[in-house]
């Protein structure tokens, strides 16, 4: 007679394999879901492309998002501002006609917010723009995106790292960002 746990391990191999496959599936599935289906690039009412505007045409961010340098929120430009150019530019494109119809009916465009922070976070664009922080630090390379999605992980770690690196005064005090 002899004894060893190997035999039992052999018997349990199918069960262990199933568990392993299930676990791997979960991990891979989670990763795939988070990477390829982030759910942070919603379909907007108008297919506005940052790539064309900010990328190819080199329009500065602050040209449209005027409030960013003096307000908490960066703000979305008014339809009027869009029409300032699009009264002349690419008027034939179906998307621009859609834009023009909003302008004519005097309705705001129901944009969907992509970079939304939780209710408990206090963030001012003003401070960060005045401190010459690149928009891309938090918003990702927006000028290359046709459809904007949340690429930079706008989480507490990102804020803290930057605050520590730039030695922001009381940058790690919780009440600096939490309300």
């Amino acid at each position: 007679m002899s004894v060893s746990i190997v035999h039992t391990l052999r018997v349990l191999r199918p069960a262990a394999m199933i568990a392993l496959v299930a676990l791997t599936g979960l991990v891979v599935g989670f990763y795939v879901n988070a990477t390829f289906f982030p759910g942070t690039s919603p379909e907007q009412p108008i297919n506005f492309s940052h790539r064309i505007h900010a990328g190819e045409n080199q329009i500065p961010c602050m040209y449209c998002h005027v409030q960013a340098r003096r307000s908490i929120s960066a703000g979305v430009p008014s339809v009027n501002k869009c029409m300032g150019c699009h009264a002349e530019v690419a008027t034939d494109s179906p998307q621009i006609r859609l834009l023009a119809s909003y302008f004519e009916t005097k309705e705001p465009i129901p944009w969907i917010k992509v970079h939304d922070l939780p209710d408990f976070v206090h963030f001012t664009h003003k401070r960060h723009v005045q401190a010459d922080i690149e928009c891309q630090t938090c918003h990702g390379p927006v000028e290359t995106m046709d459809v904007v999605s949340r690429e930079a992980p706008v989480k507490m770690g990102l804020c803290l790292d930057c605050h520590r690196k730039n030695e922001v005064e009381h940058g790690t005090d919780c009440w600096t960002c939490h309300k």
Binding site: V3, S4, I5, H7, T8, P153, M156, G157, L160
Partner: protein
């Protein structure tokens, strides 16, 4: 020949224990079914209700923000105190009478701790964030606050859970091996894994002995620290009636006291329903009774001291606290506690009482009711009367709280019922040791 008799009895132990694991009667399934059902309806459903609506489902209010959940937490931690601690002390002092009862006592420790941790989950407002109280690197760069007595608790209880789990498992390895040889099917595979390939060689026994002793040495100070740390959750506050230096020994003694009473209850049930009459005898009840008597006297002494120091302090807040405790809203509960935990145990002076099973069972249950009351009063009497009279308010548990209390008992019973079918609930090899070692042929003929 006596050797023949003894050897036959050695095999009997294996038979009895394997039978207790493998042969399952209808009554067991009925008991398990009832316990499981009660756990589900009285523990999990009200808890889910509370998770959905918020802690408001319980009866807690503004000054008394801690209630029966925390009392239950201390109670279960207390109940966990006798098993492994007593087992360790008796192991180091080589007490023979430990050997029949320690396995189930340690199981009691382990499951009480488990229930205590679930009580924490029930207690806190946002249990879905409980992982924030664990130290692990995260993107927020935030760590738990190690200055908090609650964090001492987290560390101590996790250590205790690990320690007592390992202790009960390590002591059972030779028994798993013995059971392994007798079982088939999934049980066989389970015990092969659990026994790690134990063969009972002299080397293995030697290593096991050392490791087991070291664990016992490590666990004794740990167990003492666990309940003193639980007491600091209270004593480190500045609430009159809680801010007491006596609290650490008070809690430790109270914990061992209620734990020992719990062991008596469990012993009674095991003896009666698992057919272990040969192994759990009057001797065990006699010894446990003596221990209970000692602990009850210690407990009474500390309670008197608590009153005395409060009175001696001469501050108005402490006076008010004492007056409220002895004569206020909760006074009937206080005197019930004194009756159950200080007066009734005096019966243990009589040897006849200690060796009668049913009275011991009743007393042990009464003691634990009294000890639960004690924990409840610690929370309720102090928090409802703090410094500012403007916010004095009485606290009464709600139905949800009472239901969860009952359900947590059922959860414990369920876990224990599952345990007795997986773990040999008495230690095979140590019972054999107490039976006496077989002697050489020709020596020691019957006298």
């Amino acid at each position: 020949m006596q050797t023949e008799v003894r050897q036959a009895r050695f095999a009997d132990v294996n038979d009895d224990v394997v039978r207790s694991l493998v042969v399952t009667g209808r009554n067991y399934y009925i008991a398990l079914g009832i316990a499981g059902f009660v756990t589900l309806t009285c523990f999990f459903f009200p808890w889910f209700y509370q998770l959905y609506y918020g802690i408001g489902a319980a009866g807690m209010n503004s000054p008394t923000v801690w209630g029966t959940y925390l009392a239950s937490f201390i109670f279960w931690i207390g109940l966990s105190h006798s098993g492994t601690l007593l087992s360790c002390v008796l192991h180091l002092t080589n007490s023979e009478w430990r050997k029949a009862m320690y396995r189930s006592a340690e199981a009691m420790t382990f499951f009480s701790l488990f229930v205590a941790i679930t009580m924490v989950m029930v207690h806190i407002g946002r249990p879905w964030f409980i992982h924030w109280a664990a130290p692990y690197p995260n993107q927020m760069g935030l760590w738990p606050n190690f200055r908090s007595p609650l964090m001492f608790d987290v560390m101590a209880i996790m250590t205790y859970l690990t320690g007592s789990g390992i202790f009960i498992y390590m002591g059972a390895i030779p028994d798993f091996a013995a059971v392994r040889d007798r079982t088939t099917g999934w049980r066989h595979h389970l015990y092969v894994l659990l026994s790690l390939g134990w063969r009972g060689t002299d080397k293995e026994w030697h290593r096991l002995g050392w490791a087991y002793t070291f664990l016992a040495v490590l666990i004794i100070p740990l167990a003492v620290s666990v309940h003193s740390i639980v007491s600091w959750d209270f004593a480190l506050s500045i609430v009159p009636g809680l801010h007491q230096t006596i609290f650490a020994p008070y809690f430790v003694v109270g914990a061992i006291y209620s734990g020992t009473a719990g062991i008596v209850t469990v012993m009674f049930v095991l003896r009666k329903y698992m057919n272990f009459e040969h192994y759990i005898t009057k001797l065990h009840f006699d010894n446990l009774g003596k221990l209970l008597l000692l602990l009850s006297l210690l407990w009474t002494y500390i309670n008197m001291l608590e009153l005395f120091t409060g009175w001696f302090s001469g501050t108005s807040t402490e006076y008010e606290q004492l007056k409220y405790k002895l004569t206020g809203f909760y006074a009937p509960l206080y005197w019930e506690m004194i009756l159950f935990c200080a007066v009734a145990p005096l019966l243990l002076i009589s040897r006849k009482f200690r060796t009668s099973f049913v009275p011991m069972l009743i007393l042990s249950i009464a003691i634990n009711i009294g000890m639960y009351t004690e924990r409840f009063l610690i929370v309720a009497t102090t928090l409802s009367r703090q410094y500012l009279p403007g916010s004095w308010r009485v606290y009464v548990p709600s139905l949800v709280e009472i239901s969860i209390l009952v359900g947590s008992l059922a959860l414990f019973v369920t876990l224990f019922l599952l345990f007795v079918k997986i773990f040999p609930s008495i230690s095979i090899y140590e019972i054999k040791e107490t039976m006496g070692v077989p002697k050489k042929h020709g020596e020691h003929h019957d006298t």
